[in-house]
C-alpha cells in the first residue's frame, strides 16, 4: 500500500465520522433541505467530470465526457438552487409577524 493511498484512506475514514457528527444535530424540520443540500455537495463529481472531459480525444471519451459534465453540472446547479428556494421560504415573514425561528424550535 503506497503512501498516497494511505493518506486517502485516512481522509475517507475521518470524513465518515465528521459526516455523522454534523448531521446528528439537525432538527427534523430541516431534513428535506438538508437532503437537498448534501445532494448538491456530491455534485463535486463535476471536478472528476471536468478532468475526464478536458483531456478527451477518442469519440467514446468525448461522449462520456460531455454527458458526465452535463449531468454533474445539473446536479450542482439544480441542487444548490432548489435548496436555496426551500430555505428562502423559512425566513419569509410577514411584516407585523416577527420571525423567531430559534425560539419556536426549542
Amino acid at each position: 500500500m503506497n503512501n498516497e493511498l494511505l493518506n486517502e484512506l485516512t481522509f475517507f475514514v475521518l470524513a465518515i465520522f465528521v459526516g455523522f457528527e454534523v448531521i446528528s444535530k439537525v432538527p427534523t424540520i430541516l431534513h428535506t433541505p438538508l437532503m437537498s443540500g448534501t445532494n448538491a455537495i456530491h455534485g463535486i463529481i463535476l471536478v472528476g467530470a471536468l478532468v475526464i472531459a478536458a483531456g478527451a480525444r477518442s469519440p467514446v471519451e468525448v461522449l462520456l465526457g460531455l454527458v458526465a459534465v452535463a449531468l454533474a453540472t445539473t446536479n450542482v446547479v439544480g441542487g444548490f438552487v432548489v435548496t436555496d428556494r426551500m430555505l428562502e421560504m423559512f425566513k419569509g415573514r410577514q411584516p407585523g409577524k416577527p420571525a423567531n425561528p430559534v425560539e419556536a424550535k426549542k
Partner: protein, 461 residues
C-alpha cells in the same frame, strides 16, 4: 497535484462541513447552503488550472456546462414546492450517473494490468453510481405519478434481485481480473442499472423519501470511490461526507416512521392489502358528513383548534387557504396550531417548507412530541389531507402494517373534522378507523375548495 490546489480543496472541504453544520438551524440554514456553494466554486475554480484541455475537450466542457446550468436552473426554478422530493431524486440520479461515467472513462485509460487499488474503486463507482441513477429515476417516476406509486411485486422477486446482485459481484470480479475488456464494464453497468430499477420497484410511494435519502448516500459513496480512482482529495472528502450524513439521515427517516430500514426496503409496504382492507372497511360501515356551515360554526365557537396538514393539502396547493382559515379563526380569538408529523408531506420537513411558503408563523408549527398532549384539550382537530399519520391502528392493532408508527393523537380531540377527497385509503393502503369514529365528521372535496368554503362559513358564523 500542486500545493495551491491541495489547499484550495482543503478550504472547500472545510466550507462543506461548515455549510452542513449551519444547515442544522433554521436561522443559519440558508447561509449554510451559500457556504457549501462557495466551497463548490472554490473546488471547481482550483481544478481548472489542473486541466490539460484538448480542443474537443474544451468544446465539450463548455457545451456540457451550458446544458447542465440550463437544466439545473430552469428545473429548480419552475418546480412546484410540492414536487421537491422528486426534483431531489432527479438531481441525485444525475449525480450518480455522472460518477459512473467518470469511472468508466477512467477504466478505459488503464492498461492491461492496472493496480487493484485503482480498478476496485472504479468498479465500485460504476456499480453504486448506476444503481443510484436507475433507482432515482424510478423514484422520480413514482412520485411524479408517471407510473403507479404502489409496490410492484411478483413471486420470487427477492430471489431475482439476489441473483442480479450475485451476477454484479461476479462481473465485478471478472472486471478486476481482466480489466482490459471494455465490454465487461458495459455489462457491469447494465446489470447495475437493472438492479437499481428492480430494487426500487417493490417500494411504495410513501417510502420513497427514505429510498431517495439512501440513494443520495449511495451517490456520495460513488463520488468518493471516483475520488480514489482519480486521486482527488476533494471528491473523497465531499463524497464521504455525503455518504455518511446521508446514511444517518436515512436511518433517522425510517425511525420517524417507526420502522426498520430493512422493512422499508424489502417489506413491499402497502401492496395487496390495499384492495382487501379497503373493500372490507367500506362494507356496512357509515361515516358522518356535514355542511360547511355547520363546520364553520363548530370552528368559530371553539377555543382551540389544531390543524393536521398532510400531503393532500400539498397536492391541492391549499397551504394559503389553511393559513387564511387560521387567520379568521384567530381574529375571533380561537387558538390555532398546526401539528406537524415528522413525515407529513412526503419528506421530513416538507410540510414545514410548504407552510413557511404560506407565511404561517413558526410559533404555530408544532412538532409531534410538542403537540401530542394538547389534542385532548383541543375542541377540534382539523385534518387536511392527512391519513396514515392519524390512524389509531398504529397504536391499537398489532397486525396492522403501520403498527408502532408514531402518530398524532388527533383521535383524542373533542371533535374531528376529516377533510379528504374520498374514502380512499392513504399511502400505506389501509383503512382508517378514525373516519368511522362517532365524533368524526367527514368533509369531502378538494382541500383548497373545502378550506375556502370553511373560511366563508366561519366569517358568516
Amino acid at each position: 497535484m500542486n500545493i495551491i490546489i491541495s489547499l484550495a480543496y482543503l478550504v472547500a472541504a472545510v466550507l462543506f462541513i461548515l455549510g452542513l453544520s449551519q444547515l442544522s438551524s433554521p436561522k443559519s440554514a440558508r447561509n449554510g447552503n451559500f457556504t457549501a456553494a462557495a466551497g463548490m466554486v472554490i473546488a471547481l475554480g482550483a481544478t481548472v488550472p489542473l486541466l490539460h484541455f484538448t480542443t474537443v475537450g474544451a468544446v465539450i466542457v463548455a457545451i456540457g456546462i451550458v446544458i447542465g446550468v440550463a437544466i439545473g436552473t430552469v428545473g429548480a426554478r419552475i418546480v412546484h414546492m410540492t414536487a421537491i422530493p422528486q426534483m431531489v431524486a432527479l438531481f441525485n440520479g444525475v449525480g450518480g450517473g455522472a460518477a459512473a461515467l467518470v469511472a468508466v472513462a477512467e477504466l478505459l485509460h488503464f492498461g492491461v494490468h492496472p493496480p487493484l487499488s485503482e480498478v476496485l474503486p472504479s468498479v465500485l463507482s460504476i456499480v453504486i453510481g448506476s444503481i443510484s441513477f436507475a433507482g432515482s429515476m424510478v423514484a422520480f417516476a413514482k412520485l411524479q405519478e408517471l407510473m403507479t406509486g404502489t409496490p410492484i411485486t411478483y413471486p420470487g422477486q427477492q430471489v431475482v434481485n439476489g441473483l442480479l446482485a450475485a451476477a454484479i459481484i461476479g462481473f465485478a470480479i471478472a472486471v478486476l481480473a481482466i480489466a482490459s475488456i471494455p465490454f465487461s464494464f458495459i455489462a457491469l453497468m447494465v446489470l447495475a442499472l437493472i438492479l437499481g430499477v428492480a430494487f426500487v420497484l417493490p417500494i411504495g410511494g410513501a417510502d420513497m423519501p427514505v429510498v431517495i435519502s439512501l440513494l443520495n448516500a449511495c451517490t456520495g459513496l460513488a463520488v468518493a470511490a471516483s475520488g480514489f480512482t482519480l486521486n482527488n482529495f476533494a471528491l473523497i472528502v465531499a463524497g464521504t461526507l455525503v455518504g455518511a450524513s446521508g446514511s444517518l439521515l436515512t436511518k433517522l427517516m425510517s425511525d420517524a416512521m417507526g420502522r426498520s430500514l430493512a422493512n422499508v426496503l424489502f417489506g413491499a409496504f402497502g401492496q395487496v392489502r390495499t384492495a382487501a382492507t379497503a373493500a372490507a372497511g367500506a362494507a356496512g360501515r357509515s361515516v358522518r358528513s356535514a355542511s360547511a356551515e355547520d363546520l364553520g360554526t363548530l370552528l368559530a365557537y371553539s377555543q382551540r383548534v389544531i390543524i393536521v396538514p398532510g400531503y393532500g393539502l400539498a397536492v391541492a396547493q391549499a397551504q394559503h387557504a389553511a393559513r387564511e382559515l387560521a387567520d379568521v379563526l384567530e381574529k375571533r380569538g380561537v387558538e390555532v396550531e398546526y401539528a406537524i408529523h415528522p413525515v407529513a408531506g412526503r419528506m421530513p420537513g416538507h410540510m414545514n417548507v410548504l407552510l413557511a411558503e404560506a407565511n404561517v408563523p413558526y410559533e404555530q408549527l408544532k412538532e409531534m412530541d410538542q403537540v401530542n398532549d394538547d389534542f385532548k384539550n383541543a375542541d377540534v382537530a382539523l385534518i387536511v389531507g392527512a391519513n396514515d399519520v392519524v390512524n389509531p391502528a398504529a397504536r391499537s392493532t398489532p397486525g396492522s402494517p403501520i403498527y408502532g408508527m408514531p402518530i398524532l393523537n388527533a383521535d383524542q380531540a373533542k371533535n374531528v373534522i376529516f377533510m379528504k377527497r374520498s374514502m380512499r385509503p392513504g399511502f400505506a393502503g389501509i383503512d382508517n378507523e378514525l373516519m368511522y369514529d362517532p365524533k368524526t365528521v367527514m368533509f369531502f372535496g378538494d382541500a383548497k375548495d373545502s378550506l375556502t368554503k370553511l373560511v366563508s362559513a366561519v366569517k358568516a358564523a
